[in-house]
Symmetry: C2
Subunit: 244 residues, 2 copies
């Protein structure tokens, strides 16, 4: 599955091409295309900002106009700022990423279009895209080119990433068995009774329920349950030692 | 609902604090906290990179150590690179954003922790967080501090953003009625018959089905259906004019 090409139109600053290349590298994109760049090319500032992504700059293709640059692509999505008057479907970055993946899965080459720093894509450039993408932002925001490429690259990688939302690392232990937990409850409650912790006695039942809930919620492993019992033993021993 | 604080630990470069502030501004975050910064503060490079986010820098609080900085927060999530040996739940940025929103909805102040440029958060710093966040990236990637803040800010804003995945702008027209579409089909097919377009005749039915599907798929408005009929009229007229 070929990742989408990143096509930068009328870019003015080499720094931004470099930042875009670096952002691409972070998320597994590699095909960079420049259309009518408004700066020297190759560009020293781009090289510096790209740091580890010099290979992407070296392989970048340059075209004098957009229709030539877009020739091989079967799905082209264009980034624009919010609220632009467009006649096309407007995708969130996440939805755009899904659309790109779906096209790629059918063997289509795809591209994401980014406009120049000052004014973004003009209407002529937009008219060649299938649909547009707007990145949700707070008011008075101004995403720069490198940031926009980063966010689209991120969503693209995410759309094919199977990482579960939350992983709980294997800490070497198994979740404690109910027997181990009940053993811990009994041990702790016996020592708290001995220390006259439960006061007034009428509240003992509610307090015990609370403590048990707190322990269960922490999802102890068998090793952690043993560690806590060891702490109880140590604290009790210390108390008697203090008294003698 | 108070957005999460961004807490930067042992930051070495003012540029990165500036880029972080700018990224925060883009996504509606405003509370910036520096812990044991390893650079001058206030910092000229930070000012330059922050561009429109100088207010965030001006309001930033500085603490000598992390436990003091974290005092008011009830949910603290720490960013770490992939594969770190942690004993806590590991969230994707999206899942972290949901957890932050949920805590905020109950009135809790929340924070996202970012480590220094060279080595990220150390184990002592991580031990004070409730859970960790890792950003999915391609191999051999190196997200910088500003990029990490940008992606977390983006996910936070997204988690409260009701923008539908795909919007189809109201282009001023209603979707064409079936009568208008059937009128268009009849008009087009009549002219194509007259022009002997359908050849061989045995294939007419399949070709018609294809053309109708193509038209329906484009989701025409009533105005667009009329425009196409106008184009057909113009093309046919031109043909006869050419012949006379």
């Amino acid at each position: 599955m070929t990742p989408p090409a990143v096509i930068l139109c009328q870019t003015q600053m080499g720094e931004n091409v470099g930042a875009a290349a670096r952002a691409m590298k972070n998320f597994g994109l590699s095909e960079l295309v420049l259309v009518a760049p408004r700066m020297e090319w190759p560009n020293d500032r781009a090289q510096i900002l790209a740091s580890g992504a010099g290979d992407i700059l070296a392989a970048a293709r340059v075209y004098p106009n957009l229709s030539e640059a877009l020739a091989p692509y079967r799905l082209v999505l264009a980034t624009t700022a919010r609220g632009r008057d467009v006649l096309k479907d407007i995708h969130t970055p996440q939805s755009a990423a899904r659309a790109l993946r779906a096209a790629q899965a059918q063997g289509a080459r795809t591209a994401i279009l980014f406009g120049g720093e000052r004014a973004g894509l003009d209407n002529d450039e937009l008219s060649l895209a299938d649909a547009v993408i707007t990145i949700p932002t707070a008011e008075f925001s101004s995403l720069n080119l490198g940031q926009a490429v980063l966010l689209l690259g991120y969503e693209w990688l995410k759309s094919g990433d199977a990482t579960p939302a939350v992983r709980t690392p294997n800490t070497g232990g198994q979740p404690a068995t109910r027997a181990e937990l009940v053993g811990l409850f009994a041990h702790l409650e016996k020592e708290l009774d001995a220390a006259q912790f439960f006061f007034p006695p009428a509240k003992r039942e509610a307090m015990v329920r609370n403590i048990r809930a707190m322990i269960l919620r922490s999802g102890l492993t068998d090793q952690q349950a043993r560690t806590i019992r060891g702490m109880i033993v140590a604290l009790v021993r210390n108390k008697y030692r203090g008294k003698t």
